[in-house]
């Protein structure tokens, strides 16, 4: 009957978590440290318009997301709510790894800041994009829309919708290929994600993976101290080397929320706190109850859920 912490992937399109920042000194202290580590002003991390090029913007946005996630975690821990199992998607997996003790906070944020220097792709490279595909939930291993088509890649599996009828997949690829696919499928079964110009978790991110490889190789990784599940395959990450491998492969390999949730469930999670705006409330079916935490009032909901569902809390470690 464990309490899981589940961190969303990607970067949100809307600001959230500001009230948490205002209400909790422990978050403000964290943001001040993140500012020193990354060179971004606290206001940039918190709410300012994100900067310039796609890679700069992506880097700043990942810092914003991770700072918020770690901050919310710190607020919860301050109230005795510690994770029994950690999991996350993509960036959320890195945040979870950090909270499991596999990578230091400073190292994580410096790595995210370093990503802003990713070289631009040559202008002749095709424009990239993202889309969500909706397939029948009972389709089994029927593949994904556009499978085998040049320029279209399966980049994520978010699993079934709340009513169990559909399965949501993420496709990455060349914008023209995704647009063409949308035109051929029944209306509403492929939804392009606006303003997403990076084909995450696909072979089109090879250059980014290559750019980050030496940086990741230089980071010291430790064995996780809290059970940590992977988003790249259905398994737990038990060694520093496995966590490093996740960081290295994350840019190009597809992610699976289904695997994350199954791994958490196998490790006894019966309530998960969803942290980060990129797992919308009410849209997906989880194999355990979830409480989204991004406002101060959600903490009371967490307490109520912990009590109602009979969750075992992790005691504080002896200092």
């Amino acid at each position: 009957m464990a309490l899981g912490f589940l961190f969303g992937g990607g970067v949100g399109t809307e600001l959230y978590g500001l009230e948490m920042y205002e209400a909790h000194p422990v978050m403000r202290e964290l943001y001040a440290r993140v500012s020193r580590w990354t060179g971004l002003a606290v206001e940039q991390i918190l709410r300012d318009e994100l900067p310039g090029t796609p890679e700069e913007r992506q880097s700043a946005a990942t810092i914003r997301e991770s700072a918020l996630a770690l901050g919310v975690h710190d607020v919860l821990v301050e109230r005795g709510l510690r994770p029994g199992v950690l999991g996350g998607l993509s960036l959320g997996a890195m945040t979870a790894s950090c909270l499991a003790g596999a990578i230091g906070r400073r190292e994580l944020f410096e790595m995210l800041a370093y990503a802003r220097h990713t070289p631009r792709l040559p202008p002749e490279e095709p424009e990239q994009g993202l889309a969500l595909a909706f397939a029948p939930a009972d389709g089994g291993n029927a593949g994904f829309p556009g499978e085998g088509r040049p320029g279209v890649h399966l980049s994520g599996d978010f699993g079934p919708t709340a009513d169990g009828e559909l399965r949501i997949l993420m496709l990455s690829g060349e914008r023209t290929a995704l647009d063409a696919l949308e035109g051929e499928l029944p209306p509403g079964s492929l939804v392009p994600l606006p303003d997403r110009t990076i084909a995450v978790h696909s072979p089109l991110r090879r250059h980014f993976r290559a750019f980050m490889a030496s940086r990741i190789a230089a980071i010291p990784f430790s064995d996780p101290r809290v059970p940590l599940v992977s988003c790249l395959e259905r398994k737990a990450l038990t060694t520093g080397a496995e966590v490093r491998d996740l960081f290295a492969r994350n840019p190009t390999d597809p992610i699976s929320l289904v695997d994350v949730c199954a791994g958490m469930k196998e490790r006894g999670v019966r309530l998960a706190l969803v942290i980060g705006g990129s797992i919308p409330n009410g849209l997906l079916r989880f194999p355990f109850p979830v409480v989204h935490v991004d406002k101060p009032e959600h903490i009371q909901q967490v307490f109520a859920s912990v009590y109602d569902l009979g969750i075992d809390l992790v005691p504080a470690r002896a200092s």
Binding site: L132, G164, L283, P289, Y307
Partner: protein, 368 residues
Amino acid sequence: MTAAPAVMAAAPPDQECEALIGQWLATDIDRWTRRVIARHFHPATGSPYWLRRAAGLGFDPRDITRYDELTAFGPFPLEVLRRQDPAELVPLAVPRPLTGRIWDTGGTTGPPCRLFYTPEMLLHRGVWRRWSFVSEGFEPGRDWLQATPTGPHLIGNGVWEVSGLFTGRVYAIDMDPRWVKRLIRGGRLTEAAEYTSHLLEQLADVLDGGGIHYLNTTPALFQALVRRFPELVGSLDGVRLSGTRLSPDMYREFTAALRGGICGRSYGNTFGNAAGLPVEQNGELMPYVPNYPQVTMAVVRGDDWSATVAPGGTGQVRLTVLHDDLFLPNILERDQALRYVRGGTWPSDGVANVAPLQLMSSAPEGLY
């Protein structure tokens, strides 16, 4: 209608209960809406609260002819039920002075709401509850233990519902939900667990004696009982659950612990209840249907309470109470749920997988 007993001496016979259910399920909701509106807005015998409000509504409520038009009233302001005399919401057609019980809501977020239940309202609730007992497989004439809030909480009237309508004999243990909620609000989970332990010891004392067939309690308390006294749970013929959150895992754990015993469920509060239907998808879908037509539920969008979500979609629970003696349109509950449509076999929408309300986002674009 002059007496309002919590314990009704003369309960209707089984056939009459079944006839009432049939009659209610066959009711046309628009026609029923017109009946309730006419009663509450009757210039001479309507309810004082609604007659006062009618003046400021900007429309004549007596012009409403369809259930769907009840959205014109807007969300019902619960503050009214915290501050006003509950009799103000009861039509003057019910002879004054009113005598009987005032019932409270839980008071999760402040002072409780208070409602006056006429005998007909108590009977309506009880007959539906009896319907649940029968459909879920509970047997009449058995011994029950009721371990729920009592006092001002309507769930405590389950003692009468079992004894008066289902020929049961009922032991009871009291619990104070407001104290538990206060502890939880303050993050004092250790003290809340201590209170739970205090309740479990009382439960075990009754169950230890043997002879109790069924337990009526909350999922949270039953979960604690399953863990601490599994052998006592295994000896029960069934449990009936309502009042706190129930997850699919809990449901499966409970049915396993009951070793073939019944696990019945209901969802609701002092305003109105919904009966649990058999779970689907191995417990992943737990549906409920409201005590029609006096209680109806809709699942509405987070950004537009007047619009229902598509079947299977998630949204906020909107409750409408259409008793002859109590009219509460558009109560926006602090719960979210899936919209459950049972097809042609039930005259209204149901809800499934109820959970505490959080901000809704129906836009998948936010996924990454």
